[in-house]
């Protein structure tokens, strides 16, 4: 095109520039917001809020592992015994094994397995794997304690399992009955410990206490067609008798020079049944225990040694 060749370069440039600017305005028009929408958007300014702070009660990253148990916040801070037998068993075990931990008052909803207790280890800077900060359920606590340098000695006695079954069935069943299904005790003890802290609403409280009692009843009816109260108490009485004979004149069960998990399991029930501050009203089970002097002293020894009296 001769005209184009003749034309001075500036013209070319300007024409190119104008055509480009025309095009670009066209493109801009295509992508620009239509004025009414722009007005609308101007009314909605984009504002980025600063991130919310964590709730006040969020656990601070702790130096030591946290054991989540049924307890009152005050008792938990003071390291006093939990009021739930299973929690108390593992709390005592950790104390005996010398695993430094702090207690956190909690309830079943907090637990990944649905039951308390569980232990939340500290996140180690060195250990990068996810495992190190996964919660430890109660059945893995012995392993956890051994991994963290505690010496856990378990007696290999053939009687271990049998006497453990006394605690896990005979005494536990009597405990369930006396705590949840004995109306006086339920109102005086269980209601105060398990129901009052959960809600201030009367309806919710009534529903929770109903649930608790039904659950206890269902648990007892699993093993027998009806709840035979006399049988429950007499079996628990015999169980305490057998445990008392097993302990004999020894300081700790199975003749150990140091308490072990079995001592913790026994203590979990004896402590709670002998604890005056719980305010038992129907004391049949407590009386059965008080008759066994060496079990009472065994509880006293553990209480003094690991809970400061």
């Amino acid at each position: 095109m001769p005209a184009a060749v003749d034309a001075p370069e500036e013209t070319l440039l300007t024409s190119a520039a104008t055509s480009f600017s025309q095009q670009s305005t066209k493109v801009k028009d295509l992508f620009s917001i239509p004025p009414p929408l722009k007005k609308l958007f101007d009314k909605v300014p984009v504002l980025v809020y600063s991130p919310n702070p964590l709730p006040q009660r969020t656990p601070k990253s702790a130096r030591i592992p946290s054991l989540y148990v049924f307890s009152t916040p005050k008792d938990a801070a003071a390291g006093r015994p939990s009021f739930n037998p299973t929690c108390l068993k593992w709390q005592t075990f950790l104390n005996i094994a010398g695993v430094d931990h702090r207690l956190i008052s909690s309830n079943n909803h907090a637990s990944p397995t649905g039951v308390l207790p569980f232990l939340l280890p500290t996140a180690h800077a060195s250990a990068s794997s996810q495992d190190s900060i996964l919660p430890v359920p109660s059945n893995k606590l012995v392993k956890f304690a051994t991994e963290h340098g505690a010496k856990v000695q378990e007696s290999p006695s053939m009687r271990y399992e049998a006497y453990q079954s006394l605690l896990d069935h005979r005494i536990r069943n009597a405990w369930l009955y006396t705590l949840y299904l004995e109306p006086e005790n339920f109102d005086a003890v269980a209601y105060k410990l398990y129901v009052l802290p959960t809600s201030t609403n009367l309806l919710v409280r009534a529903s929770i206490s109903y649930d608790l009692r039904i659950a206890a009843e269902a648990e007892l009816l699993k093993h027998a067609p009806i709840i035979d109260i006399d049988d429950l108490y007499s079996e628990a009485d015999k169980a305490f008798e057998a445990l008392s004979v097993l302990l004999g004149k020894d300081t700790w069960f199975f003749g150990g020079d140091k308490p072990a998990l079995f001592d913790a399991s026994v203590f979990a029930y004896t402590q709670l049944l002998l604890d005056e501050s719980l305010g038992w009203k129907e004391e049949k089970l407590c009386r059965a225990l008080r008759r066994r002097d060496n079990l009472v002293q065994h509880r006293q020894r553990l209480l003094v040694k690991y809970f400061g009296g």
Binding site: K39, L166, H169, A206, K222, I226
Partner: protein, 441 residues
């Protein structure tokens, strides 16, 4: 007066299909002199006040449950018919502890082996109830027992043995490991290649070994479990449980296999004491009517007495009783009533008050829930015509519609504003029009 021991009927060459019944039979066989008691395979738990068998009838008194029976025997014989007398302190304690151990650890094993495992249950256990119960009852009893067995063993996580139940419903898994990281579940081809019993073999073996090992250690070289010359209540219980583990011939014999291969001493104990206690038992022994025929028969060791022929009325009664127990809410109420009757505690004020608050709270909770549903809009009343009309508009375009609606309302506002301004500008003109009227001036 002759004592009557009512039990579940015979099976597997044993006088009863239930471990506690076997224990009670062994106890009476050792403690009570012959001729003072009879054995009745009534197979009807409703007879006993605790709704369980074994049950002992002494005149008008009914005593249910193995433990209650041996306590009662000690009482009514003034301490004569007692097996555990004279044991050393340690032996008595062991007797108590191991009794608890046998019951608590043995029962789940029997449950798994005889009731939960589908093959064993359908091939052996369920059919055998036909031989010990009269017509409509075998349709109700085994499923009830099986359901209870499943509940008792639920915590062991071995429900896979039961392949009847529908697994398509995703289970409420308690694991904290996220779905994507879990190992794959058993697939169909896996299941076809192996029975659930082989898949769970290691766990079952471990469970069984945990049960047998302490028992074998306790017995050691002694003749019986806690003493060398005295047959105790623990031996009765152990005999009941161990013989039911060893003797039945099942399609999935994992329990008997573990026992014979690893614990021959226990098997020897069962064989020896079984023949000494029960002799040879055949099903017809229990139901044979001619007492004379039995007396001449040397083979029969036990004092069988044929159960009372169930009239249609009693059978019907038992049938409807067990039916009612299976209906969810009614069954629960019946159980509660039974418990209250048994515990002899009349419904006092506290329970009445408790019931009242309970009903109140349930009504309140339901009301609150429905209110909440309304509030959240899960439930709505059917829309009226007017509302329908109102809906038509920009709302039909969803979120874009909402934005446009905002725009439209904005434009409406602008139009309004303009109209108002126009009006304001027009007003003075109107005034002028009114004031200046050339015709009047």
């Amino acid at each position: 007066m002759v004592l009557e021991l009512h039990v579940w009927g015979p099976a597997f060459g044993l006088p009863s299909v239930d471990a506690h019944c076997l224990a009670a039979i062994a106890y009476l066989q050792h403690a009570v002199p012959r001729g003072k008691w009879t054995l009745i395979a009534s197979s009807n738990p409703a007879l006993s006040p605790t709704n369980e068998l074994p049950a002992l009838r002494h005149g008008k008194d009914w005593i249910g449950g193995f433990r209650n029976i041996f306590h009662y025997l000690a009482q009514c014989s003034a301490g004569e018919w007692v097996l555990d007398a004279g044991l050393s302190e340690q032996a008595a304690a062991d007797c108590i502890a191991f009794s608890s151990f046998v019951e608590s650890h043995g029962q789940p094993l029997l449950d798994l082996s005889l009731y939960v495992s589908t093959q064993n249950y359908t091939a052996i256990t369920r059919p055998l109830y036909n031989t010990i119960q009269s017509f409509p009852l075998p349709y109700l009893t085994p499923p009830t027992i099986r359901a209870a067995a499943k509940e008792r063993t639920a915590h062991l996580g071995l429900s896979s043995l039961d392949i009847d139940s529908d697994d398509s419903v995703p289970k409420d898994d308690k694991s904290i490991i996220p779905e994507s990281l879990r190992k794959p579940r058993a697939t169909v081809s896996n299941l076809l290649a192996s029975t659930p019993e082989t898949a769970a073999r290691i766990r079952l073996d471990a469970l069984a070994t945990n049960f047998f090992e302490p028992l074998q250690l306790l017995r050691g070289k002694k003749r019986f479990f806690v003493s060398n010359d005295q047959f105790t209540s623990l031996d009765c219980l152990a005999l009941g449980f161990l013989s039911l583990m060893l003797l039945p011939e099942l399609p999935q014999p994992w329990l008997a296999k573990t026992m014979t291969s690893k614990f021959p001493d226990l098997c020897a104990f069962v064989e020896k004491n079984k023949s000494a206690c029960f002799g040879e038992v055949e099903v017809q022994d229990a139901f044979a009517n001619e007492a004379a025929e039995k007396r001449t028969n040397e083979r029969v060791l036990l004092p069988w007495q044929a159960p009372a022929r169930g009239s249609p009325l009693t059978v019907g009664n038992a049938f409807f009783t067990s039916m009612a127990d299976n209906i969810p809410i009614i069954g629960q109420l019946r159980r509660n009533d039974r418990m209250r009757q048994f515990s002899n505690k009349s419904a006092d004020e506290t329970t009445a008050w408790r019931r009242l608050t309970m009903v109140g709270s349930i009504v309140g909770a339901v009301g609150l829930f429905i209110g909440f549903m309304f509030h959240q809009g899960f439930i709505t009343l059917p829309p009226t015509h007017e509302e329908e009309e109102k809906r038509r508009g920009l709302d039909d375009f969803g979120e874009a519609g909402a934005a446009l609606a905002a725009l439209a309302s904005h434009m409406d506002a602008e139009a309004n504003f303009q109209r108002m301004q126009e009006q304001r500008m027009r007003d003075p003109i109107v005034e002028v029009d009114v004031e200046v009227d050339p015709l009047k001036v």
